[in-house]
C-alpha cells in the first residue's frame, strides 16, 4: 500500500539526510526500520506524513506512493485524511490537555462521528488503562501510559497505515514487550505499521520485514526473521558484542568484506 522510491531529503537545502531510500509497506504488515541515531529514520517518516515542511526539510528526489497515488506534494492534513497517521518520536502529547482531549484532537481529521466513536471504542479496547485516566492531564501519565495515549491518539484518525517513531524510547522492558504486542494487534486489526526502532529485538520480533538504515541509505533489506539471525545486526543492534567494542556498523561491514549489502 505504501511505496517509497529513491527518496532523497535535504534539510535547509544542504544537509542530505536521506539519500536514495526505497522501501515498501504491504497491507496489514508490520515493517521495521532500524538504524543508529541520525541515520534518517524520523526524516523518512516525516517525508511520508508531510511533516517535513515545518522542519525546513524538502524531498529533492524520488516519490512516496500510497495505494498507487503519488502523495509527495500533499500537505500533512490531506495525508492524514487519506489514512496515514504518525506517532512522533518522544510521544509529543498535549501535556496540558486531558487524555480525552488528546484523543479528540487525534480525531480532528476523522470523516464523521460514527468513525470517531468506533475508533474510540477500539482505542479503549487496546488500552483499557486510558479509560480510567481519561480526565487526567496527559502530562501527568506514566511514561508507558503516555506512549499508549500517543498511539491511541493516532489511531483516533482510523488510519490504514500507522507510522510509529521509536515507541519503546525510555520504557521499561516489560512495557516495551507490551507495546510490541499492541503493535501486532494493531496490524491484525487491519492497520499496517511502519515501525522505527532502536530496539531491534522488539521491532524484528513483531515485524514481517525489516530495513536497516545507515547515514541515509538502506544497507539491509530482508525478512525480519533473517535480520534477527544476521550476525552484524545481532552484534550492533542487539548488544551482543564479540569484543565489547564500540564498533559502528560501517566498520563492522568493512571487517567482513565477504558480505555484500544490497545497495
Amino acid at each position: 500500500m505504501l511505496v517509497v522510491r529513491e527518496l532523497e531529503v535535504m534539510y535547509q537545502g544542504v544537509i542530505a539526510a536521506v539519500r536514495g531510500v526505497s522501501l515498501e509497506v504491504p497491507e496489514q504488515s508490520v515493517v521495521a526500520l532500524l538504524g543508529a541515531n541520525g541515520a534518517g529514520k524520523s526524516t523518512i517518516l516525516r517525508a511520508i506524513s508531510g511533516l517535513l515542511r515545518g522542519q525546513g526539510g524538502r524531498i529533492t528526489h524520488g516519490a512516496v506512493e500510497y495505494d498507487g497515488q503519488p502523495i509527495t506534494t500533499f500537505d500533512a492534513a490531506r495525508i492524514v485524511r487519506l489514512g496515514i497517521a504518525q506517532v512522533l518520536e518522544g510521544r509529543r502529547l498535549f501535556g496540558a490537555l486531558t487524555v480525552e482531549d488528546n484523543l479528540r484532537a487525534g480525531a480532528f481529521a476523522a470523516r464523521d462521528n460514527a468513525a470517531t466513536r468506533r475508533a474510540y471504542g477500539r482505542v479503549m479496547e487496546l488500552f483499557p488503562v486510558l479509560r480510567d485516566r481519561r480526565k487526567s492531564m496527559a502530562g501527568y501519565l506514566s511514561g508507558g501510559e503516555q506512549q499508549m495515549l500517543a498511539i491511541g491518539r493516532a489511531l483516533m484518525a482510523s488510519p490504514k497505515l500507522l507510522l510509529l517513531d521509536e515507541p519503546s524510547l525510555g520504557l521499561a522492558p516489560v512495557m516495551v514487550q507490551h507495546i510490541g504486542k499492541i503493535i501486532s494487534e494493531i496490524s491484525a486489526g487491519g492497520t499496517a505499521v511502519l515501525l522505527v526502532e532502536q530496539n531491534a529485538q522488539m521491532a524484528l520480533t513483531h515485524a514481517t520485514h525489516g530495513y536497516v538504515l545507515e547515514t541515509g541509505q538502506v544497507v539491509l533489506d530482508q525478512p525480519a526473521a533473517d535480520l534477527l539471525r544476521d550476525e552484524s545486526v545481532r552484534t550492533f543492534y542487539l548488544g551482543l558484542h564479540e569484543e565489547g567494542g564500540r564498533a559502528n556498523f560501517a566498520t563492522l561491514r568493512q571487517r567482513r568484506p565477504e558480505r555484500r549489502w544490497a545497495l
Binding site: G54, R92, L93, F94, G95, A96, A105, G139
Partner: protein
C-alpha cells in the same frame, strides 16, 4: 464606604475594558507567539468602522457592530495570510517590527479617513444614563462593559472547550508539529486567532471610546491599548484567564489609587504608574506572570 464601593465598581468596569484588550493580545500570542503591536490600532479601526456605519450610513448599532467586527477581523486574517505567513521562522524582533508597521499603516489610514474631525462614539444607548443606589452610581456604560466582557469570556470558553476548532487552537498552542500530525492546519488556526482577536478588539474599542461618557473619540484611541500591557504581563502572556484577571486587577488598581491618592504623600498622578509598579513586583516573584504556563510535565 460609599466611595470604596463606587471605586471598586468603576475599577471593575474599566478592568473589563482592559481585559478585552488584553484578550486580543493573548489569543494571538497563544496561537502563534507573535506579540501584535498593532492591536491598539485594531481597536481604533473597529470602533471607527462601527462609527461610520452608524452615523454616515445610518445603520443601527448592531448591524454596524457586525460590519466593524467583520472589517477588523478581515484585516487581521489578511495580515496573517499575506505578511506574517512569509515571516514564519524569522527572529521575533523582525515579526514585532512588521506588526508595528501595520500599526502605523492602520493609524495613518484612519487619520486620512477621519480628516481632522473626531468621529462620534458608537454606542446603542445614552452613555450618561444609569441609576444610583445609596449614593453609588451605576453607569450604563460600566454595566454594559462588565456584562459584555462576561459574555465574551463565556463565548470564548465554550468555543475553546467544546468545539473542534477550539480544541485545535489549544492543541496547536502546545505543540504545532503534533497538531499538524493530527491533520490540523496551522494556517486555519492562525486565521482564527487573528479573526477572533480583531472582533474582541472592536468590542473593547467601543467601550474605551464611550468610557468617560465622551460623545466622540479621536485617533489616539489605539494608544490607550498600551495600558493593557501591564495586564497581560501580570496575567501571563499566554494565559486567557490571566488576561481577564490581569485586566480587572489593573483596572481596580488604577481606579483605587486614583480615588485615594489626592492629598496623599505619593502625589496626584500616582495612579498612572501604579499598574506598572504592580507588574514589576509580580514579575519579580513570578516571572511567567500569575497564570503563565510552565509546561505540564511529569517529574
Amino acid at each position: 464606604m460609599t466611595t470604596f464601593i463606587q471605586l471598586v465598581f468603576s475599577g471593575l468596569a474599566l478592568g473589563c475594558d482592559y481585559a478585552l484588550i488584553a484578550l486580543g493580545f493573548t489569543i494571538i500570542f497563544k496561537a502563534s507567539e507573535v506579540i501584535n503591536f498593532a492591536q491598539g490600532e485594531f481597536l481604533l479601526v473597529g470602533t471607527f468602522v462601527v462609527s461610520v456605519a452608524m452615523f454616515t450610513w445610518r445603520l443601527g448599532f448592531f448591524p454596524a457592530l457586525v460590519i466593524g467586527i467583520g472589517v477588523t477581523s478581515l484585516i487581521g486574517v489578511l495580515f496573517e495570510r499575506v505578511v506574517l505567513r512569509r515571516m514564519i521562522g524569522r527572529p521575533p524582533f523582525n515579526i514585532i517590527m512588521v506588526t508595528i508597521g501595520l500599526d502605523v499603516l492602520l493609524l495613518t489610514g484612519v487619520i486620512i479617513l477621519v480628516g481632522g474631525r473626531n468621529p462620534s462614539s458608537p454606542v446603542p444607548f445614552d452613555t450618561l444614563s444609569g441609576f444610583s443606589i445609596g449614593g453609588v452610581e451605576f453607569g450604563a456604560n460600566a454595566i454594559a462593559s462588565i456584562v459584555v466582557t462576561a459574555l465574551v469570556c463565556l463565548g470564548l470558553y465554550i468555543f475553546l472547550r467544546y468545539t473542534r476548532y477550539g480544541l485545535a487552537m489549544r492543541a496547536t498552542a502546545i505543540d504545532q508539529e503534533a497538531a499538524r500530525a493530527m491533520g490540523i492546519k496551522i494556517s486555519t488556526v492562525y486565521a482564527l486567532a487573528w479573526g477572533i482577536s480583531g472582533a474582541i478588539a472592536t468590542i473593547g474599542g467601543i467601550f474605551l471610546a464611550a468610557g468617560a461618557g465622551n460623545p466622540s473619540f479621536d485617533v489616539t484611541l489605539g494608544q490607550s491599548a498600551l495600558v493593557a500591557f501591564p495586564a497581560i504581563i501580570l496575567g501571563g502572556l499566554d494565559s486567557i484567564p490571566g488576561a481577564v484577571v490581569g485586566g480587572i486587577a489593573i483596572g481596580l488598581i488604577y481606579v483605587l489609587t486614583q480615588g485615594y491618592e489626592s492629598g496623599g504623600f505619593l502625589g496626584a498622578n500616582f495612579h498612572l504608574i501604579a499598574p506598572y509598579l504592580v507588574m514589576i513586583l509580580v514579575l519579580m516573584i513570578r516571572p511567567h506572570g500569575l497564570f503563565g504556563t510552565r509546561k505540564v510535565e511529569r517529574v
